[in-house]
């Protein structure tokens, strides 16, 4: 028997994205369906609520233009099967990518990267969905080149963030630009994928400095971007700042009542998004990594210490560890285990993995085979993402509306058939 297409859509929206990419070869209809924006969004909604570890991945940059990807189930079961992501096929002119930098945590399967070099340092930003291997070069910056004269690495590098505005169904990239000529405070430039253009927000970033962690510094959740910011001479007082996508208003987010160890600066703090909640990470050097999560967004009392990971057995040389190593939580498993990224500048830590699973019950790290490790010269090299079908070109192509119309027609037709 042959299933009506509307029912087939119901079934296929529950199939993992990797399989659907393969099923594009089944027939023209399958190929069109996976390119349809409405289907992509339906599939995203279902896969986001799923706990299926097959569709959640860690990808690591292991060469200039080589990324390997493996599923969280293979990481968790310590049977890493990694696949090469062939981004180079999508670069039209040059056959080789001279450089690739990961800019921020992926959102809905979209990865924000810079590829190669341009005259204007902001003009090589791309959105890439590694699962379907679709790439889109974003429009040129609205900031004139002559205002960037003072932009020198490392402090002048803009801080990127990627988010999804569910109200307007738009994908948004922000970059906070420090030391822009003629401005004393950092400026924020916002990109809309729908409009394919950048605009400089009139309101400057309200704090002069953003805390720079070894991992990404801008985290998106609950329709808001989050940074840790500070003012000069007050480095000990970091605050969490959010920017709401609906009104572009800044707001300070309360912090947990964590223990401020003495002597001061004996710890790193950082924010992350874990299990859909804002997470506050404190790495007391050589002692523990404490993870707090905020159950009710914006409510100070709802901060809870979710996990305190002891680092005593982990540390080899306790001198000056903080300069060289830190951790970042990537994923919270259903049983409370945590996938951690270890960030190192030098080989100071005994263990050599870059991604590790912390087993809550055993209170121990599980050895995980490394995907490949590069020192952090070019920014973070590993990302956590979910396989989706979301195309960075979703607003470009005529949205396969023919299919949708056809599907509506089919379902109406089958309804009429049933009623008669």
């Amino acid at each position: 028997m042959c299933l009506p297409q509307d029912i087939l859509v119901e079934i296929l929206s529950r199939v993992p994205a990797k399989s659907l990419v393969r099923f594009r070869c089944v027939s023209k209809w399958f190929n069109c369906l996976t390119s349809d924006v409405q289907f992509q969004d339906k599939h995203l909604k279902i896969s986001c609520s799923s706990r299926d570890l097959e569709s959640k991945r860690v990808a690591a940059k292991v060469g200039v233009d080589v990324m390997l990807s493996c599923s969280l189930s293979s990481v968790y079961n310590n049977k890493i099967a990694a696949w090469r992501l062939p981004i180079e096929r999508k670069i039209s002119s040059c056959s080789k990518i001279s450089s690739m930098v990961l800019l921020c945590p992926p959102v809905n399967g979209l990865v924000c990267v810079t590829l190669g070099t341009c005259l204007h340092p902001f003009d090589n930003v791309h959105l890439w969905n590694p699962t379907i291997n679709e790439l889109r070069r974003l429009a040129n910056s609205s900031v004139p080149l002559d205002l960037l004269s003072k932009l020198q690495q490392p402090y002048g590098e803009p801080i990127y963030g990627l988010g999804h505005d569910s109200a307007s169904d738009d994908y948004v990239v922000v970059r906070v630009i420090t030391r822009l000529l003629g401005y004393s405070m950092p400026r924020v430039e916002v990109y809309s994928l729908k409009k394919d253009s950048w605009r400089l927000l009139t309101q400057p970033f309200p704090y002069p400095y953003i805390w720079k962690h070894m991992y990404f510094n801008c985290h998106f959740m609950n329709s808001r971007f989050h940074w840790m910011a500070y003012t000069p001479n007050k480095q000990d007082h970091l605050l969490i700042l959010s920017l709401n996508l609906s009104d572009y208003e800044y707001k300070e987010i309360p912090q947990p009542n964590y223990q401020k160890a003495s002597p001061p600066r004996d710890y790193f703090i950082n924010i992350a998004v874990l299990d859909g909640q804002l997470c506050f990470c404190i790495h007391y050097f050589g002692r523990s990594l404490d993870l707090w999560t905020m159950k009710d967004y914006g409510v100070q009392q709802s901060w809870m210490m979710m996990l305190s990971i002891p680092l005593h057995d982990f540390v080899d040389t306790p001198i000056q560890l903080h300069v060289h190593a830190d951790f970042f939580p990537l994923y919270l498993f259903e049983n409370g285990d945590v996938l951690l990224l270890q960030l190192r500048r030098k080989e100071y830590y005994q263990k050599k993995q870059d991604i590790m699973v912390y087993k809550k019950d055993q209170k121990a790290f599980e050895d995980t085979t490394t995907l490949g490790y590069q020192p952090l010269r070019l920014g973070p090299t590993s990302i956590y993402y979910t396989d989706t079908l979301i195309s960075p070109n979703r607003y470009l192509t005529p949205t396969a509306s023919r299919i949708v119309k056809y599907l509506n027609w089919v379902s109406r037709d089958s309804l009429i058939h049933h009623l008669s």
Binding site: L3, E10, V15, K18, S19, V21, R22, F23, C25, F30
Partner: protein
């Protein structure tokens, strides 16, 4: 009690509390159109028995959560979808027609789980789909995302 009639003229009595999980029948009852037997011209008796089995087990979902019978229900669901491929299709069609949201979701997920690791050839056979792509088009799709075509989990068998 509500009486349902399959397309092979077999009548089944079902408790109202169970049958109103079907949005379609619930609407019929609310509109007062369910006074006698409800004919279901798209559903055969074999499929209807399966659907009624599901409905009876799933009466009062809230009650199950209270009494800690969730695991029991989960186990039932797992056993329930353990049926043949064609049979699963019949239940999906019936759930869609009767508009039983939870049953539809359960069976579609089961169908998706059975399809997900299948090879392209196996999917065509399982869904009775004729390939209308040229060899060049197929090769282009494979070249774009070769990783989706590799892996030990890919299964070429049809079931």
């Amino acid at each position: 009690m509500v009486k349902l009639k399959s397309n092979d003229d077999k009548e089944f009595e079902v408790e109202e509390a169970a049958v109103i999980q079907s949005e379609m029948i619930k609407n019929m009852i609310e509109d007062g159109c369910a006074t006698s037997v409800i004919p279901l011209p798209n559903i055969d008796s074999k499929t209807l028995i399966k659907v009624i089995e599901y409905l009876n087990k799933h009466i009062n979902m809230g009650k199950a959560a209270e009494t800690g019978e969730e695991d029991d229900l989960k186990e039932f669901d797992e056993q329930f979808v353990n049926m043949g491929w064609e049979e699963l299709f019949d239940v999906i069609m019936a759930a869609n027609y009767l508009n039983i949201h939870e049953l539809m979701e359960l069976c579609c997920q089961s169908a998706a789980d059975r399809l997900k690791n299948k090879s392209v050839r196996a999917v065509r056979e399982m869904l009775k789909i004729t390939n209308d792509l040229t060899e060049e088009e197929e090769q282009e799709i494979i070249n774009d995302a070769p990783w989706a075509f590799e892996g030990p989990e890919i299964d070429d068998t049809v079931n």
